[in-house]
Every structure is written in structure tokens, then in C-alpha cells.
């Protein structure tokens, strides 16, 4: 029991140190990465991820159809 406890303690310490070391390494890697990428990529990312083209076209088609129909309907009702 005593021995198990001390083993658990060692694992706890080793584990926490390793987690921190690892994530600090990642932090350093990210800093290097950002420096490496430099200024060439500083423009803000487009706010929305581009929708797939097909979907886009479909939506456009629907929109155009809706507009056309709306205007058409309106005219018919107001002539």
C-alpha cells in the first residue's frame, strides 16, 4: 500500500511535469511557426468558410428563381 502510494505520487508528478513540458514545447513551436510564416499570411481569414461550389450555385439558382417570381407576381398584381 505504502509502495503503491509512492508509485502513484511519482506518476502524478512525472505526469504533470510531462504535460507541462509538452505543452510548453508546443507553445515554443507555435511561436517559431508564427515567426516562420512571417507577415505573408497576416491578412485576416475570410469570415466564413467557403461553401462548396455546387451548393452555392444551387442557392443562387433558388434565389434568382425567388426574385424573378416575386417581381413577376408583384407586377401581375399591380398592373
Amino acid at each position: 500500500m505504502q509502495q503503491q502510494l509512492s508509485e502513484a505520487l511519482t506518476i502524478m508528478l512525472t505526469g504533470m511535469i510531462t504535460v507541462f513540458v509538452f505543452l510548453i514545447l508546443l507553445l515554443v513551436a507555435m511561436a517559431l511557426l508564427r515567426r516562420f510564416i512571417g507577415t505573408e499570411d497576416r491578412q485576416p481569414e475570410p469570415s466564413t468558410r467557403p461553401v462548396s461550389r455546387a451548393q452555392n450555385q444551387q442557392q443562387n439558382a433558388q434565389r434568382v428563381a425567388a426574385i424573378t417570381a416575386a417581381v413577376h407576381t408583384y407586377r401581375r398584381e399591380h398592373e
Partner: protein
Amino acid sequence: MDRLITLWNSTALSAFTWGEATMMLVGALLLYLAIKKKFEPLLLLPIGFGAILANIPMAGFTEPGGLLYYIYAVGIDTGVFPLIIFMGVGAMTDFGPLLANPRTLLLGAAAQFGIFATLFGAIALNGLPGFNFSMQDAGAIAIIGGADGPTAIFLASKLSPDLLGAIAVAAYSYMALVPIIQPPIMRLLTSKAERSIKMEQLRQVGRREKILFPLAVLFLTLLFLPAATPLVGMFCLGNLMREAGVVERLSKTAQNELINIVTIFLGLAVGSKLSAGEFLSLQTLGILALGAVAFSIGTASGVLMAKLMAKFSKTPINPLIGAAGVSAVPMAARVVNKVGLEANQSNFLLMHAMGPNVAGVLGSAVAAGILLALVG
């Protein structure tokens, strides 16, 4: 008449044991929590249903030839299902907030103290009569503190398959209870002034940075923690598919149909491990208690780490965001936001908390790798 007797003997009424009946009630309770209380329903509904099916006497769901037996053998024994889910989670994760404020990685690290302290606690519990957790058991139980479902299932299936059911149930239940467990701890450890601190707006993160990040994570993992590469690797693959921008259809499928299909079967298979022999024991109570402790310690460590960082930081840091380091994405970040708003009605911390939140996912995958390497 003989036929009627055959049929009657083939009913479950005679064969039922108290253990099975109780486990069915446990399954029904999980269904209730999932449907009525909306506790992580995507997992707890199939888990609860699986628990009911697995405990039907004479139906043989978990015996060779039974449905749950096959699902468990194909998906959990091999570790494939949690890894596929982790890939899907990777494809759903936006590392932007973390990349905009990389220091929050430290918060994701600190919150893992919940895991390792619980490992110690599980072994300490062996001092009480009725508990006898091996180091493997302790590691599997501790991962509940990681607040990450697929990681917990993956690790438990490797270290201590017998406890898988109880561990998965505890992990998902506590993840659902995050809005109840965390706020008191957060309030206890911070002053109202601290909770009111506003943080600076996050910078925009470039596309290239987002593509290179999962690769950098993978690179460091394979160098220093090969045991963590299955989890971290699949997570990074999902994230790379998301950010690469050239495999949109694969990324969409990983985030939707594939993860949905696997979730159904994963839940059923986990539920099939909820058998009376393994679940109805004092150990399960211990696991539930340890899980609650793990969450609390993780939350506290995150908050304290954030307070420490705030001391050395030029820009203001609200210590609440440390609580999001336990992962439980995105629930923990939402809790941070809510507690922040209570203190200051114009203080929106959600995006700031997303950084430590996704860092917590990485952190617990890394911790799982460490546990695999040390006690696996």
C-alpha cells in the same frame, strides 16, 4: 401444452436476477437523464439503451453471436470507434482562439492535474476496505478528469476494460453536470473584481497557421509521446482535413455521417459493459466519487493557473477562463461565459475560453498517452 411450457420457460420472467433488473433500472435512469435532462444525449441515450439490452436474460446480446458482442469486438476491443470519433471531433474543432492566444495552452495543461491527482486518490482509496484498484484501474478512472468522452473510453478499453462501463458513464454524466459542478468552485477561488476583468479582442489567425498547427502537434507527439499518437494523430488528421480546405467532402463526412454512425454503435457497446457483476459494486461508487473530485480539482487547478498567469501577464487575463481547461467542449467555455456575465454584464468571455477549452482536449489526450506509457 408442452409448447406453452416451452414458451413460458423461454420468457425472461423466471430467469431474471436482481442484478439484471437493477442494471436495467440504471439503463432507464440513463435514458431519463439523456432525454429529459438532456445530459449528453448523443452518448447517454445509446449507452442507456445498450445497458438495457445487455441485461436481458437469455437474449444473449453480449455473448458470442450476439449483436453487442460483435459491436464491442469490432469497435472497442480494437480501439477503432473512439479513434474515429476523435477524428470527427478534430474535424469539428476550430483552433483559432487557441492560436490567437497560445498562452492558454498552459491552462489546458494545468487542468490535467485533475487527472493525476485522481490517480493518486484512487490508489489512496485502496486504504478503505472494499477497494482494490490496480494502478491500471487507477489510471483509467483518473482519465474521467480529462472530461473527454472518447479519450476516456479509449484509455479505459486499454487499461481496464472491466471498468469501462462505469468510467464512461461517469465521464459523460459529469460532463453534463459541468454547469453545476464548476461555478461554485470558480466563485470560491476568484473575487468579483477578477471575474469582471475584460480581455483584449483576439487577433485574426491566418489559414496557414491553422493548417500547420495540427501537423506541429502531431510532430511533437510522435517525437516525445508515441503512446499518445493514436488519439492525437486521429484528432490532428480530422483537424487537418478541416483546415486544409481541399478535402471539404471528407471533412464534412467525418463531422457528420461517420461520427453519427460510430456514435450509435459506440454507445451501444459501452452500454453492453454495464453488467451487474461489474457495475453493482462498491468500486462504482468509488469511481463516481473520484470522478466528481477529478472534475473539481481540474477546475480549481485551471483557475489557479490562470490567476498565476495573470500576475505575470502584460495584458489582462480573467482567471475564470482557466476553468475551461478541463475540456468538456463547448460546455465549460459556456459556463465561463455565464459566470463572467454574472459579474459584469458586458463581459463576453466565450471566445477567450475556447482557447483553454480546446487546449484541454489536447492536454487530456497527452495525459492519456502518458498514462498508457507509464502504467499501460
